[in-house]
C-alpha cells in the first residue's frame, strides 16, 4: 500500500518533468538524467524532509486503512481531483449496508491487486534474468580483440555487458573507434549500473504507466548524454563520421533491452540531430541548469509541510486576539480553561496542518463532540475550532458555515487538553474462550481512557475462510454471579462482512464509546459467529477517584504536624484551617503513609491490605496522589483544587453537622504527574461522605448471615436469605427505641428494637419472612427468628 502511494508521489514528479522537458531542451542532457534521479529517489525512499516549497500535492493519497472505511476516499491533495474521483470511488467501493451480509469490496480488490503486483514484478525480473543469461551464453564464443573488447557474430550493434564491450565483426577501424568512445563514455558515467537499477525499480512499480514513461525517457537521455560526452572531444568532421556510424548501427528493435547498453537502439534521428547541432554550452546555461536542478530537487523531493492554523480560512488574526477558551469534550463543556486562554492558544500556535483540505464532503462525518471554543476580539460570537475524536482533523466553524477539514500533523499538542483528568484503566485478561472450532480471539491492545476501545485479534486455524462482522457485546459482572450488558442505549451494527482467510488472522478494533466501561470490575467481551467466543477480563481503574475519602483513626497533633508537602515542612497552604497537603508519588509512598497513619476504611468498602494488593502497579506511573487532612468533620465538600506555579491549593468546605469527634477525613485526589510540573489548571472536585452501618445476624441457619444496612441518608436494606430473590430496600425511621424499615413499595416493614449498639428483630411487628428448608429432611424454618440479635 505504501508502494502505491510512493509511486503516485513519484508520478507527480514525472508529470512535472514531462511538462518541463520542452523548456529545457537547450540544457545539457546530464541535467536531465539527474532529474530522473529525483524520480528514482522518490520510488526508493518512503520518507523525506518537509519544506514549504514542496509542490507535491499529497504524500499519502490512498489512506492505508481504506479497506476498512465505510466511505472510502482518496486524498490526492488537489481539491478538484478529490471532488471528481471520490464520489466514484465511494460509490463503487463502499460496502453496501442493505444486504444481509455483504463483503467489503475493497478487501477483495486489495487482495487481488497485491497478488497481481507481485506476479508482475516477478515476471519482469525473471524476464530480465533469462535474457541476461541467454545473451551471456551466446557471447561465450565472442573473440577477444583487446582487453575488455570482444567481437561476436551475434552482436548486431555494439553494447556493454558486464564491463566488456561487444562489437560486431567487420567494423572499420574508424567505426570501431567511435563506438568505443561512446561505450567508454557509458562506462565512465556509470550507466551500466544505472540502467539495471532503473529496471529493478520499473519491475517493482510496473503498474504505474508514468514509471514506464520515465524509464523510456531515461534511456533516451542516457544515450544523448553519452553522445554529448563523446562529442565534446571531437572536431566538426569527426562529428559527421560519428553520426554516420550512429546511423549505420541503428536497428529497429523496439524491445527494451534491460541489460545491455546498446549503441544505436534509441531514437537515432534525434541523436544525429543533436550531434550535428552540438555547441559547447555557454557558462550562463550551466548556471541555469544547476540552479534549476537544485530548485526542482527541493520542490519535488520534499514533502509538503503542514500549514499553521492561523492561515486556515483567513482567520489570520484570531489567535492573537483570544481572550477565553472553553473545551468541550464528549459534548460537555469543561470550562476549566475559562480564562486561561494563553495556554491553549500557545499550543494552537504550534499546531501544523496539511496544506490542502481533507475533503469538502466530510461534514456529515464530523464529530462535533470535541471542540475548542475561542472567543476573540470584538463580538460575542465564538469561533469554534473543532477537532474530531482523536484530534487528527480540525476545522473551523463560525456558526454560519463550517470550513473544510484539515489533517492535523501534530495532534499530540492538542490532545493533552482533551485528556485531562481521565483515568486510564488497566486491563488484565482472565481467560479467552471459544465455542467455534479453530477460531480463537485474544486482546491485542486496548485503551480505557477517554476514548475506550478494544483491539481483538481473530485467529483462524481452520482450512476454510471465516466470515465475521462487527457484532459484539460487552458485559459487566458485579462479582456475585450477575452479568449486565454495558450498552448505553441501543447499539446499531453495520452489516459488513469481514473475511479471515484460512490459517490467517486479523485484528479488529471495537470502539466502546457506546458502552459504559467506567467501573472497575469483571467484564466479558462476547461475540457470536457460528458459536460463542468470549474473553473475560478485569478492568482496573485504580482505587482512587477524585471523590474518595478515607477515614483516619484519630490523628494526634503531632502526627498531623508530620504531614508535609513534598517532603518539606513548608507552611501549610490549604485554605481550610491551613492544613498541609501530602503528596504520594509511588506505591511505596502510599504504603508507608497508610501504615503510618492507620487507615481504617474506604468509602467504597475494603480494608487497607486489599486496597494495596489490588492497586494497579502502574497507577503511579502517570499519577500522584494529593492528600489533605480535614480534621473533625463528617461532611466534606471540596470546593476548588488548584495546581499552579506557587504550589497547590485545595479549597475544602467542611461541615461538622454531627459533632463526631472521631472523624478525621482525608481527601484524596489523583493528579497527572505531568500536570504537577507544568500548566495551570483548575479542577472542580467534590466529595461527600456517607456513613452507613451494617448489622448482621450471625446465628442464622442460612448460608448467608442476614444483614440490615442503614445509611446516613435514611435509606436502608434488609436481606434475610441468600435464597431469597429480593433484597428489601427502603427507608427506615429511628424513633429512639426502635428502628422500622419500610420497603420502597410500602408493602413490607421490619421492626428492630434498639439495644445499645445491637438491634433485635421484632417479628411480631414485622412482615412475615418466608421459611426455607435448610436440611435434607428438615422442616422449613425462618432464617430470622424473633429476637435475633443483629450486631
Amino acid at each position: 500500500m505504501q508502494f502505491l502511494n510512493m509511486s503516485i508521489t513519484a508520478g507527480w514528479i514525472v508529470l512535472a518533468l514531462l511538462l518541463l522537458r520542452p523548456l529545457v531542451k537547450k540544457l545539457p542532457k546530464w541535467v536531465g538524467c539527474t532529474l530522473w534521479a529525483l524520480v528514482g529517489i522518490r520510488l526508493v525512499l518512503p520518507f523525506s524532509f518537509e519544506s514549504m516549497l514542496s509542490l507535491i500535492p499529497s504524500v499519502e493519497t490512498i489512506p492505508p486503512d481504506i479497506a476498512m472505511q465505510r466511505n472510502p476516499q482518496v486524498h490526492t491533495g488537489i481539491e478538484m481531483l478529490n471532488h471528481a474521483v471520490n464520489p466514484v470511488i465511494t460509490q463503487s467501493f463502499a460496502p453496501k449496508a442493505d444486504t444481509l451480509t455483504s463483503i467489503n469490496p475493497l478487501q477483495i480488490v486489495e487482495f487481488i491487486m497485491a497478488r497481481l503486483w507481485i506476479l508482475g514484478m516477478v515476471a519482469m525480473l525473471l524476464y530480465a534474468l533469462f535474457s541476461f543469461v541467454s545473451l551471456k551464453t551466446k557471447l561465450r564464443t565472442a573473440t577477444k580483440l583487446e582487453k575488455g573488447i570482444f567481437e561476436s557474430e551475434f552482436v548486431e550493434s555494439p553494447f556493454i555487458l558486464s564491463n566488456n564491450v561487444y562489437l560486431p565483426y567487420n567494423m572499420t577501424a574508424e567505426e570501431r573507434e567511435y563506438c568505443l568512445l561512446h561505450e567508454r563514455a557509458h562506462l565512465k558515467r556509470g550507466d551500466h549500473l544505472i540502467k539495471p537499477l532503473a529496471f529493478v525499480l520499473l519491475s517493482v512499480y510496473w503498474f504505474n504507466p508514468l514509471v514506464w514513461v520515465a524509464f523510456v525517457l531515461l534511456c533516451r537521455d542516457i544515450e544523448l548524454a553519452c553522445d554529448e560526452k563523446v562529442i565534446k572531444q571531437l572536431g566538426d568532421t569527426e562529428r559527421k563520421e560519428y553520426s554516420l556510424t550512429l546511423v549505420k548501427n541503428s536497428i529497429s528493435r523496439k524491445r527494451i533491452a534491460a541489460c545491455p547498453l546498446a549503441f544505436g537502439e534509441v531514437g537515432v534521428k534525434e541523436r544525429v540531430k543533436k550531434v550535428m547541432n552540438y555547441k559547447k554550452p555557454a557558462f550562463w546555461v550551466l548556471v541555469v541548469a544547476i540552479a534549476l536542478s537544485v530548485v526542482l530537487t527541493v520542490c519535488l523531493l520534499t514533502n509538503p509541510v503542514g500549514m499553521k492554523i492561523t492561515y486556515i480560512e483567513d482567520h489570520r488574526k484570531i489567535l492573537d486576539d483570544v481572550y477565553s477558551v472553553n473545551i468541550i469534550v464528549d459534548n460537555e463543556t469543561d470550562s476549566r480553561f475559562g480564562t486561561n486562554a494563553e495556554e491553549v492558544v500557545k499550543a494552537l500556535k504550534t499546531l501544523r496542518v496539511e496544506k490542502y483540505p481533507v475533503s469538502q464532503s466530510r461534514s456529515e462525518d464530523r464529530d462535533n463532540a470535541n471542540r475548542l471554543v475561542l472567543r476573540y476580539g470584538g463580538g460575542s460570537n465564538p469561533i469554534m475550532l473543532c477537532f474530531n475524536a482523536d484530534c487528527s482533523e480540525v476545522w473551523v466553524d463560525d456558526g454560519v458555515k463550517p470550513s473544510y477539514s484539515y489533517k492535523v500533523k501534530n495532534p499530540d499538542k492538542i490532545e493533552g487538553f482533551f485528556k485531562i483528568n481521565y483515568v486510564d484503566g488497566v486491563l488484565r485478561v482472565l481467560s479467552s474462550n471459544s465455542d467455534v472450532e479453530g477460531i480463537s480471539i485474544s486482546i491485542k491492545g486496548y485503551s480505557f481512557g477517554d476514548r475506550p476501545y478494544l483491539e481483538i485479534e481473530w485467529k483462524n486455524d481452520t482450512d476454510k475462510e471465516f466470515v465475521m462482522g462487527e457484532y459484539f457485546g460487552l458485559l459487566y459482572s458485579n462479582g456475585m454471579g450477575n452479568s449486565f450488558s454495558c450498552a448505553k442505549g441501543e447499539i446499531v451494527f453495520h452489516d459488513i462482512a469481514y473475511i479471515i482467510p484460512a490459517h490467517d488472522s486479523t485484528v479488529m478494533t471495537y470502539g466502546l464509546s457506546r458502552f459504559d466501561v467506567s467501573k472497575s470490575g469483571y467484564y466479558t467481551f462476547k461475540a457470536n459467529y457460528g458459536g460463542n467466543l468470549w474473553i473475560d477480563f478485569i478492568l482496573d481503574y485504580g482505587e482512587f477517584y477524585q471523590d474518595d475519602i478515607i477515614e483516619l483513626k484519630s490523628m494526634t497533633d503531632e502526627q498531623r504536624s508530620r504531614l508535609y508537602f513534598d517532603g518539606n515542612a513548608i507552611s501549610p497552604i490549604s485554605s481550610i484551617r491551613f492544613e498541609p497537603i501530602f503528596r504520594l508519588d509511588t506505591k511505596k509512598d502510599f504504603e508507608d503513609f497508610a501504615k503510618k497513619y492507620d487507615f481504617i476504611t474506604f468509602k467504597n468498602g475494603g480494608d487497607l491490605q486489599t486496597i494495596i494488593d489490588n492497586m494497579a502497579e502502574n497507577i503511579f506511573d502517570d499519577y500522584s496522589l494529593l492528600l489533605a487532612v480535614v480534621p473533625n468533620s463528617t461532611k466534606v465538600t471540596v470546593g476548588e483544587f488548584y495546581v499552579g506555579d506557587e504550589g497547590m491549593r485545595l479549597h475544602l468546605h467542611a461541615k461538622n453537622e454531627y459533632g463526631d469527634e472521631r472523624s478525621n477525613w482525608l481527601v484524596i485526589t489523583s493528579v497527572q504527574k505531568r500536570e504537577l510540573n507544568n500548566a495551570e489548571l483548575t479542577a472542580t472536585l467534590w466529595g461527600e461522605l456517607v456513613k452507613d452501618r451494617t448489622y448482621s445476624y450471625y446465628f442464622s441457619p442460612d448460608l448467608f448471615p442476614p444483614s440490615l444496612v442503614l445509611r446516613e441518608d435514611g435509606t436502608g436494606s434488609f436481606s434475610y436469605s441468600v435464597l431469597s430473590s429480593t433484597a428489601n430496600f427502603g427507608y427506615y425511621k429511628n424513633n429512639g427505641e426502635t428502628i422500622v424499615l419500610t420497603t420502597e413499595d410500602k408493602r413490607y416493614y421490619f421492626t428492630f428494637i434498639i439495644d445499645g449498639d445491637k438491634l433485635i428483630f421484632d417479628a411480631k411487628n414485622s412482615s412475615e419472612i418466608p421459611k426455607y428448608r435448610y436440611s435434607e429432611n428438615g422442616v422449613p424454618i425462618t432464617p430470622v427468628p424473633d429476637g435475633a440479635v443483629f450486631e
Partner: protein, 116 residues
C-alpha cells in the same frame, strides 16, 4: 562436397587450428584463451560442436581438421557467386577487377594463376 557452415567466431578458432594442427586439446585451449579470450569450457564446447558438424576430429585428445582452409575459402566464394552473381564466374571477376583497380602486371599475374 558440401562444406559445413562455420560461424565467424568459429572461423577464427579454425584459423588457430589450421596453423597449429595436429594439436593436443589442452594446448589448443591455452592458445584460444590467449588469442581469443575463450574459457576452457567454451573451447571444448566449440570443439564438440565443430566435430559434430564434421569440421574437425578429436581423437585421443588430439585435434585435427577435416576441412582445410582453402576448402572453406572456396566454399564461401561459391556461395558468394551463387548469391550475388547468379553463379557466373565472369561476372564476379569483372566486378572484382573493376573494384580493385589492378595494374596490368597484376592482372597478368592473376590470369597466370587462374590458368594453373
Amino acid at each position: 562436397m558440401q562444406i559445413p557452415k562455420i560461424f565467424e567466431s568459429e572461423y577464427r578458432f579454425c584459423l588457430i587450428l589450421w596453423e597449429n594442427e595436429p594439436i593436443n586439446s589442452t594446448e589448443l585451449v591455452k592458445l584460444c584463451k590467449e588469442k581469443l579470450g575463450w574459457s576452457k569450457g567454451t573451447t571444448y564446447t566449440v570443439i564438440r560442436r565443430l566435430s559434430e558438424r564434421g569440421v574437425l576430429k578429436n581423437e585421443d585428445a588430439t585435434v585435427s581438421s577435416l576441412v582445410s582452409r582453402e576448402q572453406t575459402q572456396t566454399a564461401e566464394l561459391d556461395e558468394l557467386m551463387e548469391k550475388r552473381f547468379g553463379g557466373s564466374l565472369p561476372a564476379f571477376l569483372a566486378a572484382f577487377t573493376k573494384q580493385q583497380n589492378l595494374s596490368d602486371e597484376k592482372l597478368a599475374e592473376i590470369m597466370k594463376i587462374i590458368g594453373e
